[in-house]
Symmetry: C2
Subunit: 289 residues, 2 copies
C-alpha cells in the first residue's frame, strides 16, 4: 500500500448509491487502499464486489471497521445510532467516523454520546443523489461539482475535519462548513419541503383520478418532471420527516402562507396581485439558474 494514500483502509457502511459512489470516486482518484463494505443484503454486497464498488464485504459492522482509518456511514438516517453502536467494538484508536445523513441535528445527538475518546466524528452531508438506489446505482462522478456540507460541533477534531474535507474535495465536491442548525433549516427549505410538496401533489392528483378516470394519463412532460422527486424512497423520506420535524414543519407553514395567499388572489380574481406573485417567483427562480 502506498504511503501517501489519504485513506489506507476505508469502511463503507451501507453500500448503495451514496456509499458506493464515494468509494468509486476515491478509488478512481487513487485515494484509498482497501474498501470494505458492510450491509444487510447479501446480493447487493456481492454485486458491489463484482462491480468493483468495494473490494470485499462482511455483514458484521464491528468486523467491517476493523483497522479502518475512515468509516463512512451511509445507511438511512434513523439507523445511524444503532449502526454506530454495533460497530463501536471494532473501531481502532484514531479512527474517523463520518456520515452522509440528510439531517444533522438528530444524527449528531445520536452518535456523539456513543463515541469513546480517540474516535473522531465529522458530521457531513453531500448534497447529491438520484432517485435510484443500491450498489448498481453508484457511479464515480455523483459528487462532482456538488456541494458537501460539513457541520462540525464543539467536539469535532480539527485534523479529522480536515481529512474529511479533503476526501470530499477529491470526490469532486465543494465543501462548505456551517452549524447543524443552519444546515437543517436550509435543507428543510430546499430539499425536504419540495419533497413534501411533490408527494402531496401526486397524492392529491392521483386521488382525484379515482372519479375522473385516467387523469394522470394526460400528464405531459411538465408534470412528470415536476413530480420526479415524489418517486424517491419512502423509507428515507419517512426518516427525514421524522428527524427534521421542527425545521420541516416551520417551512411547511411558510409554504402554506404563500399558497393560501395565492388561493385568495385567485378567488378574488385579482389579476394584478397574481401577476406580482408569479413575477416575484420567476425572478427568484431565474436568479438561481
Amino acid at each position: 500500500m502506498a504511503e501517501n494514500l489519504l485513506i489506507p483502509r476505508l469502511a463503507i457502511i451501507g453500500v448503495g448509491l451514496i456509499g458506493g459512489s464515494l468509494s468509486l470516486a476515491l478509488k478512481e482518484a487513487g485515494a484509498v487502499g482497501e474498501v470494505v463494505g458492510c450491509g444487510r443484503g447479501k446480493p447487493n454486497l456481492e454485486r458491489a464486489v463484482e462491480l468493483g464498488v468495494i473490494d470485499r464485504y462482511t455483514r458484521d459492522p464491528a468486523t467491517a471497521v476493523a483497522d479502518a482509518d475512515l468509516i463512512f456511514l451511509a445507511t438511512p438516517v434513523k439507523t445511524l445510532g444503532t449502526v454506530t453502536q454495533e460497530l463501536l467494538p471494532g473501531l481502532k484508536a484514531g479512527a474517523i467516523l463520518t456520515d452522509g445523513g440528510s439531517v444533522k441535528g438528530e444524527v449528531v445527538s445520536m452518535i456523539e454520546p456513543l463515541l469513546p475518546d480517540g474516535v473522531h466524528f465529522v458530521p457531513g452531508h453531500p448534497i447529491a443523489g438520484t432517485e435510484k438506489s443500491g450498489a448498481e446505482a453508484a457511479f464515480s462522478t455523483l459528487y462532482r461539482g456538488k456541494r458537501c456540507i460539513l457541520t462540525p460541533t464543539v467536539n469535532t477534531d480539527s485534523q479529522a475535519l480536515k481529512l474529511v474535507e479533503k476526501m470530499w474535495q477529491i470526490a469532486g465536491s465543494e465543501v462548505v462548513q456551517m452549524s447543524l442548525e443552519k444546515h437543517d433549516k436550509i435543507l428543510a427549505a430546499i430539499s425536504h419541503l419540495p419533497h413534501m410538496v411533490a408527494y402531496s401533489l401526486v397524492n392529491a392528483v392521483g386521488s382525484y383520478d379515482h372519479y375522473e378516470a385516467n387523469i394522470l394519463e394526460f400528464s405531459a412532460g411538465g408534470f412528470r418532471d415536476f413530480t420526479r422527486i415524489a418517486s424517491s424512497d419512502p423509507v428515507m423520506w419517512r426518516d427525514i420527516a421524522e428527524t427534521n420535524r421542527d425545521a420541516l414543519l416551520e417551512m411547511m407553514e411558510q409554504f402554506e402562507i404563500f399558497f393560501g395567499e395565492l388561493k385568495a388572489d385567485i378567488a378574488e380574481g385579482s389579476g394584478e396581485k397574481l401577476f406580482e406573485f408569479f413575477l416575484r417567483s420567476k425572478q427568484l427562480r431565474d436568479a438561481i439558474l
Copy 2:
C-alpha cells in the same frame, strides 16, 4: 398551389412558440400553402419571416385572416375574445377558427357568441410547451408525440373538427376529444395546480432567504428541476389562474387536504402513516413513468 394541400392559406395569430411551431410542423409536412403571421411586436414578426416560421406578416388581424382557410389563435387566453372581434371582418365564408388556449370553458364562452353563420370554431389545446417564448423558440417537432385535446361543443361543425384533428395529427400529435368541463378539470390537476405549487414554493423559500442568507445558493439540481416551471410567463399564468378559477381552486383545496394530512402526520411523528403517504405517491408516480 397544389390542390391537395390540407390548408391552402393559414393565418397564425400570435407568432410565438405555440403558433410558430405549428406553422413549422405543417410547412415541413407540406400541408400548408402560404402562412400569414399576425402579432403586435414587429421585431418578432420580422424575425419569424427570417427564420421561415411564417411567409409574411401584417399587424392587422382582419387583414391577416383575409382568404385564410384556417386561423390558429395562439395569443394569451384572455386576449382571445378581443382578437376574434378584431379579425371577424376579414373572415371568409367557411373559414375555420381554432385556438391553443390552456383553458377551454372561458375561451368558448368568449368566442362562440361572436361568430357569424358559416364560420366554424374548433376549440383546441395542444399539451406541449417549453419555458421559452417568441418566434425564436418555435421548432417543428414541438408537438410530436404529444397529446392535443379538442373540446367540440354542440355548435361545432363536424367537417371543421375533422380538419383540425387531421392538422394536429400531421404535426405529430395524438388527438383526443373530450368535453370542455373535463378538459378544464384535468388541466387544473396536471398543469395549473403544479404551477401554483411551484410558484408558491419558490416564493416561500425565497422569502425565507431574507433572513437566512443565500439559502437558494445551496439548492441542488433537485430544487432547480422541481421549480423549473416557476419560471414560466407570469402573464400567461395570471390569465390561466383567472380563467380557470373554479376548477383550479377545487384542485388547490384538494392539494391542501393532502398537504395538511402530511403535516399532521409529521407533527404527530407517525412513521407508519408517513411511510404509507410516501409509498402511495411513489406508486402513483411510478405508474406514469
